[in-house]
Amino acid sequence: MNAGPPLLEVTDLTVDSQATRLVRGVGFTVGRGERVGIIGESGSGKSLTALAALGLLDDGLRAGGSVRLAGEELDLVSASDRALSAIRGKRVGMVFQEPMSALNPVYRLGTQITEGIRLHGTRPTRRAGHEAAAELLERLKLPDPHRAARAYPHQLSGGQRQRGVLAIALANDPDLLICDEPTTALDVTVQKEITDLIVGDSEQRGTAVLFISHDLALVSSVCHRVLVMYGGRIVESGPVHRVLSAPRHPYTRALLATSDLTPGTRPRAIPGIVPAPGDLQAGCGFSNRCALADDKCAELPPLLGGAEGAVACWHHEVPGALPGVRQPSAPQAQASWERPADGEPVLSARGLTRRYPGRRVRRLGRRPTVSVLDSIDLDLYAGQRVGVVGESGAGKSTLLRLLAGLDRPSGGRVLGPGRPGGPGRGAGGLQMVFQDPMGSLDPRQRVRDIVAEPLPHRGSPAARERVLELLAAVGLPEEAAGRYPHQFSGGQRQRIAIARALAPEPAVLLADEPVSALDVSVRAQVLDLLRTATAERDTALCVISHDLGVIRYLCDTVLVLRDGKAVETGPVESVWRAPKHPYTEQLLAAVPQLVIPDGEGSEARRAP
């Protein structure tokens, strides 16, 4: 795969917005048939790099440097829209993050796929176009491809849509496929199907892949080579097995350590926050969060290396674990939770059911009902941490809404706070932490007022005192009280949300995907905070997440939901080690594992 000149050659690529430089000189190559991953957190410039390579940057952004595709005279950075259009979709295909919004809602899927063929020469008849689209969909293992080609995007599931987007990208058999977080919005089982398709197509047709993701495990299962980006620069690159088994850059090492949510190890979160592009200091961008940083890091380290990869760090030869990043603490046994002998559950649900009216089968027929949640029993005891896992549509959010009293059950009941007769949202009551920390905090309120909101006497000196106490408890400085939510990073905002939820000393804390909107390097911080904060106060915690690793790390008890039914429940560790239900097994098998193959061969595979 390394014969001849590289398929894609990126040299000194920069992307600037009006005020700041977002991508700061990135260079790499992708060989024919090679699969290269770009790993990075938000703001690392990984997506911009891909978009710039195709000339698809937003209007306000400017690219510099050069991007060359083998066999093309053009430099894609300076080429005209006309010239680039001839290349896009023909020689380079692209798959985007959100299959929900990447397809045009007003056209049938087949039409959108054939449009790509039409734009590049051949003009198939309507019928031939439909056939071609169906054929592509069939190649992507979509059941009933003819029907899918005639469907509108809203009639398809997330996985089906992403196959559609993939079909568009592959319509003209491109030499290079660029995938920007192609599975982030999908369920784990669907994620595996999609990445298998991408890898399969690449193996069969020799399509090169540039695969962008924040998920190291995913990249390790797809790619041959990986580039690690931080603050708009590549900090490390090399074959996947080398980078993941012997990372050199402190950021890569820290990222690996913090991504590993295996219970028993203590993943030390990377200190600090992912910097906004404008806030990067001179020299090494990571130095302010780095355990090895010294005076030398004020100077920008060059990306140096050879065949086994390159690294941009003055201290990359420091061996072993990094001080302050991953403490080789003795693997503490996951404290398994014991039901108190005499305890009453603080929140208890029996036969919880929620039905919605479904679509009429016939015009004037009766509306069938659809059960979103079906006879769920759940007990939450003080100090217990229950995790609810399941794929989209399993009824996780419905369950949480019913527990929170935000929705009325169609059958069954919930006893506990927030119910008639029980405490409400105040002391001993119930509070929630939501998924999107930006959307769930009022942008016009100061943090002080946000956190004090659930308190009984909001304006009192006691309440003010309590706010500062809470901010300290979630690891935010005192000055935070006077600022607004938009002045914080995602992880910090989630801390504010947690402080607000803890304010009235609730007996029950419900958390809806509390870390899925956060970067990997701060995810562990927030999980640790949730764990310690609830343990200290003996608060019962119920977390829903699609990420099984998060549940395993945070919770002691797990409830597996599928199509509204509880298929398995029990202590987390025993469910993990010996799942009883085939569905649980299937879920666990689909989670990508960090596979670090020993020895030669860059072929990475998933764990069995």
């Binding site: 306000g60 829209d81 045009n104 007003v106």
Partner: protein, 313 residues
């Protein structure tokens, strides 16, 4: 089809509810038709006799039922003031107003679509800002002022177009068109300026959508992607405003008809108010209400034509 039937039924119910409200509003006004007809010096006897003749001495509900049943046959009753049947007069005038509104809408669309799309596509460039500024200035101008200015420039100064009046289409199509140009322009210019703001914001928000990027990644050029993928999606919010504006145009027409001395529905309505011709007012207002309801029905149906997501509901 099912939808259209259901919506039409809703429309009929709405129309009747509206006619009832209109009837009630006018019924509670002080004074009665006979008094108005006979003047201030009429004897109570004469008033009573005339009331009986008009039928206004009957219970209100009977009067309403009578009138509403008539409406179903297209019979709007007979004016107490002119003693002429109201139906043909309203129909005649409504035709004129319809031409005016249709022309105004056409002008508005011809201005708003290009101006809105271009100012969105160029929103980071000076020419986009200039277009934006022009449309904002346009919104600030009231329709009658635009009318007066147009009359001054084209009719008084240039003498190219008539300053007012109306010639029916059947009589002389050329003159008909010449007489409609200035009224339609003055009605459409301002509406067009306002509409272009909505078109602009709809296109701007559509441009940020992921499917636009998908279209470009397929190899569609910038403008091709905007026309093929952007505009159909921008149409939904614009349709909403269009429906509202069409209703506003009906009202705006009343003012413009006054300025250009056009014998339209507005002119008829103003005259009916001046003459205290209650039954005529009732008829005109009902026609206007039904027109608005029909516009809403059409918007509703068009939504579903444009956006397949709405069809399944």
């Amino acid at each position: 089809m099912y939808l259209i039937v259901r919506k039409t039924l809703t429309l009929l119910v709405g129309a009747f509810a509206a006619s009832f409200v209109v009837f009630c509003c006018l019924a509670v006004l002080p004074g009665n038709a006979a008094e108005v007809a006979l003047g201030t010096n009429a004897t109570p006897d004469a008033v009573a006799r005339l009331s009986e003749e008009f039928g206004t001495d009957r219970p209100l509900l009977t009067q309403y039922a009578d009138w509403a049943l008539g409406l179903l046959h297209g019979d709007f009753g007979t004016s107490y003031v002119t003693h002429e049947p109201i139906g043909p007069r309203v129909a005649d005038r409504f035709g004129v107003t319809l031409w005016l509104v249709a022309g105004g809408m056409l002008v508005a669309l011809l201005i708003a679509l290009p101006a809105g799309v271009l100012s969105a596509a160029w929103h980071r460039k000076p020419r986009g800002t200039l277009l934006s500024a022009l449309s904002q200035a346009g919104i600030a101008v009231p329709a009658f002022l635009a009318g007066l200015l147009l009359v001054y420039v084209f009719a008084v100064r240039a003498g190219a177009l008539p300053a007012g009046g109306y010639v029916p289409l059947a009589e002389d199509p050329g003159e008909w068109a010449r007489h409609l140009v200035l009224p339609c322009l003055s009605l459409g210019l301002v509406q067009g300026a306002a509409l272009s703001r909505y078109v602009r914001s709809a296109v701007l928000s559509v441009q940020r959508q992921d499917y636009m990027r998908t279209a470009r990644a397929k190899g569609a050029r910038r403008w091709a992607a905007l026309c093929r993928h952007g505009l159909p999606n921008a149409a939904v919010p614009v349709l909403t405003v269009l429906g509202l504006q069409l209703s506003a145009l009906l009202v705006g027409a009343i003012v413009v008809e006054r300025v250009f001395v056009i014998p339209g529905l507005g002119d008829l309505l103003l005259r009916a108010v001046a003459d205290r011709d209650l039954l005529l007012i009732q008829g005109v207002v009902t026609v206007l209400v039904v027109a608005v309801l029909v516009v809403n029905l059409l918007t509703d149906v068009l939504y579903r034509v444009v956006d397949p997501r709405l069809r399944s509901r």
